[in-house]
Symmetry: C2
Subunit: 301 residues, 2 copies
């Protein structure tokens, strides 16, 4: 990793992840339904890079606010992301037994409890966000609307549905266009990453113009993130990734390397990253977010 | 059915269901992910009694407001209820192929799309409720918080998890207490019915006292509803119910008739209904809700 931004990213992680992780599990104790609570915590504790919530906290900082103002938004984002992983891993979806080096939720708790753990985290995202009394009510309402829109069938859920339907079509031999692939990723990965930056902005009281910049930067980052995911799936080892790799090709999934070749995919990745940085530059304190944009494009897992 | 309240219930249904159904499907067209949209509409159009949304609209009327004020709340409740049916019917949960006389969502669309249709409806509930500009922002925020709490792992999801875990325990021979059965139902069915009445009140600007009355009445109605469900499962034919019956016993599920006998279950049903009516009586215009309480206790399907 290039030292000029790796230091920044490492410092941000050291500062922000402990703050976030304390909050992530706080709401998930002492329920009357211990089994599903345990499954929810299990998947949250599996770790991962915490990209979405950290970007959310950094977006608040980029507008000059302390990260704490966006902590409920960041928590809600990570609940939504974690629920989507639990459901995506199910046998009826991607059928993965390993996630971040640990057995997936349905392997550890059974399919029924895993479905419910996902449902529980999705719902709890709104409980946490709407109930954060430290955030002015109008910002809470706006943030929750943006989150619901990004996570729902016009966003992440829709993208996952298209992806699943696409696998069915590819298996039966139908051709796929780059445009359709981009639509899937804009919805499946892009919507929530875009929301991550915008929610940080909303929590910090962003202007319309600032929110638009954060949305555009988030959209470009989301695209870059997905392209790099495809590249890593095609080129990494399972050990590096902590999950099964090469599965896209095995499942007949259409990916950027498959459509554009590895070099073409790497060019598209650089273009998207440059676009993200361009939008971020106009914010009051953009350094951390810009370092993250570079980091995400060069990550190895 | 006793004519004194059956006429009232029929009139309410004739007035309110068309209003509700027009709204239910309005938000679910023109998405970029047609397959999951179709699955969401399919399950919503399967009909059912619309008990939760109608109770919500009647609660607003009981406080002297027009039902339209609570239409977004009612829609959100029906989305949540429908999502829970889709997920409950999955092979990993209750494994039902028939619901309201039609193939269940996963039979019609495949398991993956059915899981996503549930996720989509759950999320869309918040989009619809938080985005309803006709409702003052503070009522929207409060209603969405109550809904998230009732639907999540401290409510409906938690109840379903306990129920599922309970089946596992029963199969392995462990005894079950009435107290535990009541906890399951309070969460699984009760929480959302309680929220249905409270949300109608919140939309209509209820006082703290009125909200408490609606909550208590909703809790009692929820219990009555569940007891009658168990009684019907034990005594009806599949034709009357539009779904498989006698399945509780087949699956080793603990029910009220099993624990209390049929007569004991009927007595518990009457007590819960009387408690609901007692709380409703103090509201300004309680007639419709009281008729519904009697109707739900005597329903045949």
């Amino acid at each position: 990793m290039n030292p000029d931004f790796s230091t920044q990213v490492r410092q941000d992680l050291d500062r922000l992840v402990p703050l976030l992780e304390a909050r992530l599990l706080k709401a998930l104790h002492d329920g009357e339904a211990p089994r599903v609570g345990e499954a929810m915590r299990y998947s949250l504790e599996a770790g991962g890079k915490r990209v979405r919530p950290v970007l959310c906290l950094l977006a608040a900082e980029a507008l000059g606010s302390p990260p704490e103002i966006a902590l409920a938004c960041a928590t809600a984002l990570e609940y939504i992301h974690t629920y989507s992983l639990i459901h995506d891993d199910l046998p009826a979806m991607d059928d993965d037994a390993l996630r971040r080096g640990k057995p997936t939720c349905h392997v550890a708790f059974g399919e029924g409890q895993a479905i419910l753990a996902g449902d529980g985290l999705l719902t709890e995202a709104f409980t946490v966000l709407l109930g954060d009394e430290t955030l002015p009510a109008d910002r809470r309402l706006l943030a929750a609307r943006i989150l619901a829109e990004a996570a729902g069938w016009h966003g992440m859920v829709g993208g996952q549905s298209l992806d699943l339907a696409g696998e069915e079509r590819t298996r039966s031999g139908q051709a796929y266009a780059l445009e359709h692939l981009q639509l899937i990723h804009r919805l499946k990965t892009g919507a929530l990453l875009r929301a991550a930056l915008e929610l940080g902005g909303v929590a910090a009281g962003a202007s319309q113009e600032q929110r638009a910049r954060l949305r555009e930067a988030g959209a470009a980052l989301g695209l870059a993130f997905q392209i790099q995911d495809d590249i890593l799936d095609a080129t990494s080892t399972a050990e590096q990734m902590g999950k099964r790799v090469g599965k896209d090709e095995g499942q007949g999934k259409i990916t950027y390397p498959l459509l554009l070749g590895l070099d073409g995919a790497r060019t598209a990745l650089q273009e998207a990253t440059a676009r993200a940085i361009e939008h971020l530059q106009s914010l009051p304190h953009p350094c951390s977010l810009m370092a993250w944009a570079r980091f995400l494009a060069e990550r190895k897992a």
